[in-house]
Every structure is written in C-alpha cells, then in structure tokens.
Symmetry: C2
Subunit: 340 residues, 2 copies
DNA sequence: TTGTACGCGTTATCAT
DNA sequence: ATGATAACGCGTACAA
C-alpha cells in the first residue's frame, strides 16, 4: 500500500533517494539516510509495484510458460512427464528471482499477445511445436524463447532443449535384438510433424539395419499414445494381428496400456511379449511387471532450459543454441530373452 | 509495440477515442471512427499494455496460485493429485479471462509481498494451510483468497473448498467392517496441524465405534505418506508388527507403497491383507491389484474454487463461504471378504 | 462524438 | 549526496 512517495514524504527526502536505496544504489546516498529509509521501508511494509516498474523499465521479470492444449478442456497436467517438467521449471524460475506466468494455448496466435501484454522477459514452450509454428512464434515475438522437445534445423533464433530421441530408439531396439528378438514393432504417433517420434523411429530403423534384420512395414504401429490406445493395441497384439515378439513403444503410459490390453486377452508380458517404453515415469516402477524404458533426466532438462533462457535474456553469450541431453536404458522386467 | 498514442496519431483522433474503441465502449464513438480504428489496431497488431492498465486501474486480472514447498527443491508437481488440480485451475482461470501466476512458497511471508507486487486480484492456495497460517495470510492481504484442502472454523474471511474427509474415513472403514474386518489400522500423517488427516481419522473412529469394535491405539500408524514410507510400513505389517487384517491409508501413493512392501515380504494383497487408499489417482487402476480407494472430484473442486474466487473478486454474493464436496468409495481389488 | 488534463508508481536523466 | 522533471501506457473525469 505504501509507495515511494509516502516513504519520501515521511523521510523528508525526494522520491529518487528512496528509489535508490530500494534498489541498492548506495553509492549515491549517505549512510544516514540509507538507514533511515530502510527503517521506514520496514515500518510501512513497503513493496515495490512491479507493474509500475515494468512500465518504466520495459521489462517485467516475468517468464511465460506455454503448453499446448490440442483438445479444449483436456488437462495436460495429468501427464506425469509434463507436470514434473513444469514443477522443475517453476522452482528454477522462482529461485532466479523471476515470476512464472503459466498459460495453456489452443492456437499460437495468443502467444505474442501475451508476451506483449505483460512485457514478458522470456518464454518457455514445454510441449512440442512444429518447425512452422516455431518460426511464426519467433517472427512475432521479440523476447527470447526456449522450446523444449521441439526440432528446428533452419531458424537460428530458435533456442532448443531436448533429448537424444534417435539414440533412445536405437538403444531400446538394440537391447531387444540382443535378447534374441527379430520381429520388433515400433508403436507411436508417427507423422511428418511429430519430430520426436520420427527420431525415435529412425533410431529403431538404424538398430534393425545394423543387425541385418529386414524391415517390415507392418511393424510400424501408428497410433495415438494415450493409455487407452495402448489397451487397444495390446488387444490386437494378443489377437495375433501382428507377427511380433517385442514392441518398442514411444511413451510409457501407452506401453502400460498395451501391457494391460495384452494381458486381458491372454498375452502375458514379458513371457509372451517384450515391451520397452519411453520417458521413465515414476509410475514405471510402481506397476507389475516394472516397465523397462528409456529414461531422460527431466531435472537437467529444466535446468538447461532456464539457463539458456536467462542467458539469452541477459544477452550473455549462449554456450550453444540447442542442447540435446543424453538418454539411457532402464532395464526392469518387461523384456524377456528369447531362447529359440 | 504500438501504443494507443500511435494509433491515435495515425487515425487523427485523440487517445481516448482509441481507448474507448479498444474497450468496446462504442456508444461514445461514431461508427465510422470505430471501423477506422479497428483497422489500424489490426494493421499495427496493437495489444494493450497490461502493466499500464494494471497501474491505472489498480487491478491486474492476475490470479496467484500458491503451493507450499516444505523441503526446498522438492518437486510438488510430481504429486499427481496436485498437478491435476493445478491443471484444472489453470484452464479455468484462462477461460475466465484471467492470467495465472504460479508460485511455490517456502514461508508464508512471501505471499503478501507477491500479492502487492503485482496488484493480484485474487489468490488460491492448493496445499493445506494451518489455521494460524491462514489467519496470518488473510490479515496481511486485501484481495480475496481461496484455500483448498484447509480447515478454518474461526476466520470469517477464509473462503474454503475441500472434500468430506470425515465421510471418506467413515465409508472406507465401514466397507472394511462390512467385509468382516475388525482389526483395522489407520495409517497417515496424523498430527494436530494436519486437519485433513485428523478428519479422516475421526471418520475411521466413528465407523469402528458404530460397529462396536473396540479401538486399539496400536492400530494408529502415524507416518509420512510418501511411496517409500508405504514400503516401510508394508514390510512391518508383513513382519507381524501389527495384528491387523486391513489398513485404511490416507493417501493412494502411500497405499501402493504399502502393498509393495508387504508383497516383498510375503504378505499378498488382498489375500493376506486388505487395503483402501484415498484420492483415486489415475494410477490406482493401472497397478495390480487395482486399488480400492476413496475418490474425490478434482475437476469440481477446481471449479468450485475458481467460482468462489471470481465472485469474491467481483464482490458478488458468495453462495457460501466454504464448500465441502462429496466423496465416494471406488471398489476395486484390494479388499477381500474375511470368511472366518 | 471527441479532446484535455491528470494520476497511477516507478525509473532515468540531468541538475544542483 | 540529493532533487526536479519527464517518461512509460492507460483510464477516469470532465470539458468542449
């Protein structure tokens, strides 16, 4: 409630002197007035009005976090990966003295509006954007933006943080092969615009090729990857729709659904079918059997994103425009060695 | 980038005319200038500066969402219940034309500062606060605040949304009794300051009493309720530390840990032990056996909270100061009928 | 229907 | 070391 003006009047000094003390510019103020003002600040519980500061400075200490909501009213925070990532980001943003403004978006039109509305200092996208979307967003915005889990080879303004999806697909498939599997399906939401899944798929293909296993296009199971979709695919597998002994699934939750769908229809994992997921959700070690999966370091992902963004905001040199984090295989209980 | 002034100059009218058009006050402007200005708004991609508006109006369209972080650096969004609730809140806040600013807090000192900093219009606490904390927060803040999952009988300024924890404890215990169980443990983080768990415990006691089952204080298992804590308690149970045939656990994740800990030590649920959880996380139906639990309607909780808050912000009459939502039992696979 | 003057709380610049 | 003034972009109140 108290303003600089109030404090200044009470102290018998000018507004600027108070402002300088508040902002720690002590070199311009005598130590006597400093202590006087500091006492008054405490007495009146003075708190700076950040709207006013933002207006004057043309910068707000706000960081916007955007998340796509493809279907209206869908709760994206039910996705454990998304919510964990968001939690890490919020924590870091706070620790660095910024404020997080969160926004789910249906179309990217809204993005630049929000950014301008609030003089946002920087933004982070936590769900995948297509190259085209990224370009449009970047064109209409002037603050630095970090994209998590997106791919963009052409736009030099795009700052990106992701994981080595290609390697993920590769090591998962390789592991299945090393366990004697040759009929291995890839299940995921495969499309031109889904770069993440495409990269995982390419890794899968590479592993097959390297081992001289001929590729069978029937083994590309193109599907949405919610839990329920997994149940459906699992049923199909149990019903011999595919001639496979193993599946590499592009998402954990989907993999769990698949296991359940197969089980219901008499196909038991890992005895009758081996499965590997992707993400390493906590959930993976809570279910039975525990899911073998490709893990990524979410905390590190968030740290990388915030560090890149803050450096860009402060116009410090960025070590690199994009960071690709490593992945590794978490071996648990859903892959069985084939003994024939 | 463009301001009212820019548009006004280009249109050859005053700033106020533009402002009126922007804010839809068409009654004060000729239709000719309206269309002219609307064209210019599009042409220059004019977006109002909300910092300036907030400064001038003393209100910001910002709603702060607070969440406690007891241990520094703990990621609270890994809790599926918290993240789902938050997702619903964010979605509603957006749909009602407000902006969500999210903040994890270590001490409640920070709360009123943030509220003042940004001229926040209203706030929501999504984790439990003690009565004392609530009172202090309310004393230092002037905007409406909704507390989710908190109890406060004395402060008339406190707006609250919660579930019927008492009933939850009651129906869970009652169900166990109706299945022939008489040695039933209550496991949770029981303390004076944890009103939620206290209420669930009181419901548990009521059910026992009603059925004439003598209360055994050894059956109150007071523990933190993370997954790992559940594993420890489950091991104890398997090792006959308690003389019980069933457990009502105050949190799902904890219940799952308990089941796992028991299993590892040779005590199989539901054959050797019956378990009921609380919250009905999605997770409950993904694990084996599927967890019987007390469910609450998270979506409705969020809607209630946002509705109460928005009414309070607009100084509309609030139907009631606090809303208690119903709970119900989700019968699944972790309770077995005792046949002796 | 349109325009003017002023205030919101802060910071930067330039004097003193 | 301290202060006066203008500026940030917008809305309210009142005047024309």
């Amino acid at each position: 409630m108290a303003t600089l003006k109030d404090i200044a009047k009470e102290a018998g000094v000018s507004i600027m002197t108070v402002s300088n003390v508040i902002n720690g510019k002590y070199s311009k103020v005598s130590s006597k007035t400093i202590t006087l003002i500091q006492e008054l600040v405490k007495k009146y519980n003075y708190v700076p009005n950040l709207s006013a500061r933002s207006l004057s400075m043309k910068s707000s200490k706000l960081i916007a976090v955007f998340i796509n909501t493809y279907e209206v009213k869908q709760n994206l925070f039910k996705d454990p990966y998304i919510s964990e990532l968001f939690g890490e980001l919020e924590s870091l943003i706070r620790q660095y003295g910024y404020y997080a403004i969160i926004r789910s978006i249906e179309t990217i039109e809204n993005v630049s509006t929000i950014l301008q509305n609030w003089n946002v200092d920087g933004a982070i996208f936590i769900s995948q954007q297509t190259e085209e979307e990224m370009n449009q967003i970047l064109k209409n915005s002037k603050c630095p933006i970090v994209f998590i889990d997106s791919y963009n080879k052409t736009n030099p303004k795009a700052i990106m943080v992701g994981v080595d999806d290609y390697k993920g697909g590769y090591i998962a498939t390789k592991y299945l092969i090393s366990n004697g599997h040759t009929n291995i399906a890839f299940a995921g939401c495969y499309s031109e615009t889904n770069a993440i899944v495409s990269h995982r798929y390419q890794g899968y293909r590479k592993a097959l090729k390297e081992s001289g296993i001929p590729y069978n296009e029937k083994n590309l199971i193109n599907t949405f990857t919610r839990y329920e979709d997994g149940v459906n695919i699992g049923r199909d597998i149990a019903n011999r729709k595919y001639n496979i002994s193993a599946v590499f699934a592009a998402a954990d939750l989907f993999a769990l659904g698949l296991i359940e769908g197969a089980r219901i229809n008499g196909c038991v994992v890992p005895n009758d079918l081996s499965v590997i997921g992707f993400d390493n959700l906590d959930l993976c070690s809570l279910v039975t059997p525990k899911l073998t999966t490709v893990s990524q370091n979410v905390k590190k992902k968030a740290e990388s994103a915030v560090n890149l963004l803050l450096n860009a905001i402060k116009e410090l040199p960025i070590p690199s425009q994009s960071i690709t984090l490593d992945v590794q295989l978490e071996v648990r209980q859903t892959v069985q060695k084939l003994s024939n």
